[in-house]
């Protein structure tokens, strides 16, 4: 399973070589010595640091935090465990007048569309994760179907397999071979509430291969007229059934679609709505973090939404891909701009990042001065549009259309020197893969594949390195603490 996630991203380096960093690294020492010093905290700050926010990052940050703690006892004592909630809380925890978080994680850039009303020049936003939003469903299919002949007690039972015999494939087997596929417009209609049943023709049309044989009535039975032996007697005509191919989506155990959404403020919702704004702009004109109006219930995090989908037959939801794997949930194949149906695998998300970053670069002139391709820093919030950071719905054959970056947000100037040191060290640990150091395998980005993310491409790692160097104008990590 893990091999599938080892994706060669060498090709990325060439295609996004023109990603302009816009910031010069401020660390005085060489990168390898900075990274080597980033592994161990020497002086534990008091009180210890808090981090939290987006549930999109939670799996990666938790894994990195566990690896971080093994480096030294001081590490675990300096930084408290990740508090997973949503992107809105991640941003508000950092930019409040009395901040509750030292490091906030958000999938939505700070003050995008003026939502946070804060001076973004006082903060650094570091890209930390690259992942896909999987559309999860819980579908079960009937294994037999019965047609009753009217005016009689005879029933005809269909064994719902691909060829009508026990050796054929059932719906469940067919769907695991050809996962349910949708395009953006149909998916948007489901989340807008205009499509409410799995047997809707628009849904079925995109899944022709999951069909089984079943008896379908083609001629109605007719009751006998008059009495036998008398004039004008018309005998009864029995019902005629015929074996036909029937789509599995008309044979679901619960045909009604139950939509589950996140509560307002979720960055996962933002990435999903950003995609819907491009793929189904009629129903979703503007990207935001608002909950979906068609949702039957809302949940505060991906970690509660995924089990809810797992527990309700016929439901649909959206979570970062790692949660789909954790809860053993099937995710939909999405149709991308190039016309291919793609699932949310690491290689597909990596392809989205490649093409997306190239597109962002091409649009740089429309973005504010000082903009960086993978993470906004100082900018006038009113002139930012999603083209400057979004990698959804990119035009590439193998790309998964609902992918996004997530960012860590920290103040640019941190008063307490020990806090600044721990912040710098942990962010370096999280965003780098440590190539060129003695402990290259331990750094956080090496854990991305196992957690169902894509490791940040090397140029983006460099951007993150440079951005972290802006904290307190480049903290000196070689000191005794």
């Amino acid at each position: 399973m893990k091999k599938a996630f080892r994706t060669p991203i060498v090709a990325l380096a060439a295609s996004i070589a023109m990603v302009a960093v816009g910031v010069t690294p401020a660390f005085a020492a060489s990168e390898s010595s900075v990274l080597s010093n980033a592994l161990v905290v020497k002086t534990v700050p008091s009180p210890s640091l808090n981090m939290g926010g987006s549930s999109f990052d939670a799996n990666l940050v938790n894994a990195a935090y566990a690896a971080w703690k093994t480096q030294s006892a001081n590490n675990g004592n300096s930084l408290n465990a990740y508090q997973s909630s949503n992107s809105g809380t991640g941003r508000s925890g950092v930019d409040a007048s009395t901040p509750t978080l030292n490091i906030g994680f958000s999938d939505v850039p700070l003050n995008y569309a003026g939502q946070d009303v804060t001076d973004t020049s006082q903060y650094v936003q570091v890209p930390v994760a690259l992942g896909g939003v999987a559309i999860i469903t819980n579908l079960h299919y009937a294994t037999t179907a019965t047609v009753t002949n009217k005016f009689g007690t005879k029933t005809t039972t269909s064994r719902l397999t691909s060829n009508g015999t026990p050796t054929g494939r059932t719906c469940a087997q067919l769907v695991s071979a050809y996962p349910v596929a949708l395009d953006g417009k149909t998916l948007g209609s489901i989340f807008a509430g205009s499509i409410t049943s799995w047997s809707n023709p628009a849904v079925i049309a995109q899944n022709p291969r999951i069909a089984v044989e079943a008896y379908v009535p083609i001629a109605k039975a007719v009751k006998a007229k008059g009495k036998r032996g008398h004039k004008g007697y018309k005998p009864a005509v029995p019902q005629k059934n015929r074996l036909e191919l029937v789509n599995c989506l008309t044979m679901t155990t619960t045909p009604t679609i139950t939509v589950y959404s996140r509560t307002a403020g979720s960055g996962t919702t933002f990435i999903f709505r950003d995609y819907l704004a491009k793929a189904d702009s009629a129903e979703f004109p503007v990207p935001s973090s608002a909950a979906f109006t068609a949702a039957a219930a809302t949940f505060s995090g991906s970690s509660t939404l995924a089990p809810a989908v797992a527990g309700k037959d016929g439901s649909i939801g959206y979570v970062e891909y790692g949660y789909a794997l954790q809860n053993h949930l099937a995710s939909l194949r999405m149709k991308n701009v190039a016309g291919a149906y793609v699932n949310s695998t690491a290689s597909a998300v990596a392809a989205a990042a490649t093409a997306g970053l190239a597109a962002i670069n091409a649009n740089k002139s429309n973005c504010p001065a000082g903009w960086s391709a993978a993470g906004p820093q100082t900018y006038n919030a009113n002139s930012v549009n999603t083209q400057c950071f979004s990698i959804t719905n990119v035009n590439a054959g193998a790309a998964y259309p609902i992918a996004g970056f997530s960012y860590a947000i920290v103040p640019k100037t941190i008063g307490n020197a020990n806090v600044a040191i721990v912040t710098t060290k942990f962010l370096l640990f999280l965003t780098q893969s440590g190539a060129g150091t003695n402990s290259s395998n331990t750094f956080g980005q090496n854990l991305a594949g196992a957690q169902a993310y894509v490791a940040l491409p090397k140029p983006i790692e460099n951007v993150a390195y440079g951005l972290i160097g802006q904290i307190n104008a480049g903290v000196d990590l070689s000191a005794t603490n």
Binding site: T98, T256, T258
Partner: protein
């Protein structure tokens, strides 16, 4: 005035009935002073607590405006603050939980005392008391993994079919929602009612029951006409405690209620989702230091007022019943 056996323990000493003997001066002075100190400390803590709550909620009232009481839209992430859905959610989940838990709880207590064989009594009442001390989060996990799946896939669709989709059994059946919350809350408060009612029922004097039986009353009549009326005050006390727990239940309901959505802005359907004051504070706690965080203090104040009102109302019922018997 002799105290009757229908007293609620909470009312002892209120009217000064036990205070005739004063502490003598001298050797008892340190004891008296330390008691005064303890009482002052408790009083100071309570006053400070209420003061901080009111003080921190004022920016919240200002931020949300008077529409906090008139608006019917609650969406914390979108800065829409209308508490009506939350207040309704709090009252309705508690009401339906008690509707189920009180008859079952009192019935269970009666059967423990009068039906179950003596050698099983201890085991059964211990089991009930064990249920009463299960932590709320365990109920939340059980509710989310077991009851939500059952209700969403089987229970609610069956109920909807039975009622042919007529209000209040209309709309989608997500499993999570007010029904799940009420059911789990009922399971949570029932052991409290059973345990306390059992203590009160056992305290009914034998003379009363034997007198009624000797006059030819049946078992059922004895329960209805003698035992229950004499236990009324105690049972009301038990129900008050259960109400207090239900109104303040936080973590279990935070995981089970499904949030205030556009599909159910007010929890007026059986399968509606919603939220309660306590659960919403827990869910939005991450924003407690932000501007909107003071609104959460306002919610806490509203919850305290509701709990205070219910408790006062219950105590006045108890007092009225006491006067009736005196």
């Amino acid at each position: 005035m002799a105290t009757t056996q229908f007293d609620s323990p909470a009312d002892h000493g209120v009217s000064g009935a036990g205070r005739e003997r004063k502490f003598s001066t001298g050797s008892d002075r340190p004891y008296r002073y330390s008691l005064y100190a303890v009482v002052s400390l408790i009083g100071a803590v309570v006053f400070y607590f209420v003061y901080v709550l009111i003080k921190n909620s004022i920016p919240g009232w200002q931020f949300a405006g008077w529409s906090i009481f008139t608006s019917t839209t609650w969406s914390f992430g979108d800065s829409k603050f209308g508490v009506l859905p939350l207040v309704l959610g709090t009252i309705l989940t508690t009401f339906f939980a008690l509707l189920f838990a009180v008859p079952v709880g009192v019935g269970a207590a009666l059967s423990i005392v009068y039906l179950i064989p003596r050698r099983l009594q201890l085991a059964v009442s211990s089991l009930v008391e064990l249920l009463a001390v299960v932590p709320s989060i365990v109920y939340g996990v059980w509710g989310a993994l077991v009851m939500a799946t059952f209700l969403g896939n089987k229970g609610e669709p069956w109920l909807k079919n039975l009622a042919h989709g007529v209000w209040p059994f209309n709309g989608s059946t997500p499993g999570y929602g007010m029904t799940l919350g009420s059911v789990v809350l009922a399971v949570m408060v029932m052991p409290i009612i059973t345990a306390l009612s059992r203590d009160v029922i056992v305290g009914v004097p034998k003379e009363l029951t034997e007198g009624a039986l000797s006059l030819g009353a049946t078992r059922g009549q004895v329960i209805r006409k003698v035992i229950l009326p004499s236990c009324k005050t105690g049972i009301v006390g038990a129900v008050t405690l259960a109400t207090g727990r239900a109104l303040g239940e936080t973590i279990a309901l935070a995981t089970l209620l499904g949030g205030v959505t556009q599909q159910s802005p007010l929890p007026v359907r059986a399968f509606a989702t919603g939220s309660t004051l306590a659960a919403e504070i827990a869910l939005d706690f991450g924003a407690i230091t932000g501007k909107a965080g003071n609104v959460l203090f306002a919610l806490a104040l509203i919850l305290m007022v509701i709990v205070g009102a219910v408790t006062y109302f219950a105590r006045s019922i108890i007092r009225r019943n006491q006067r009736q018997f005196q």
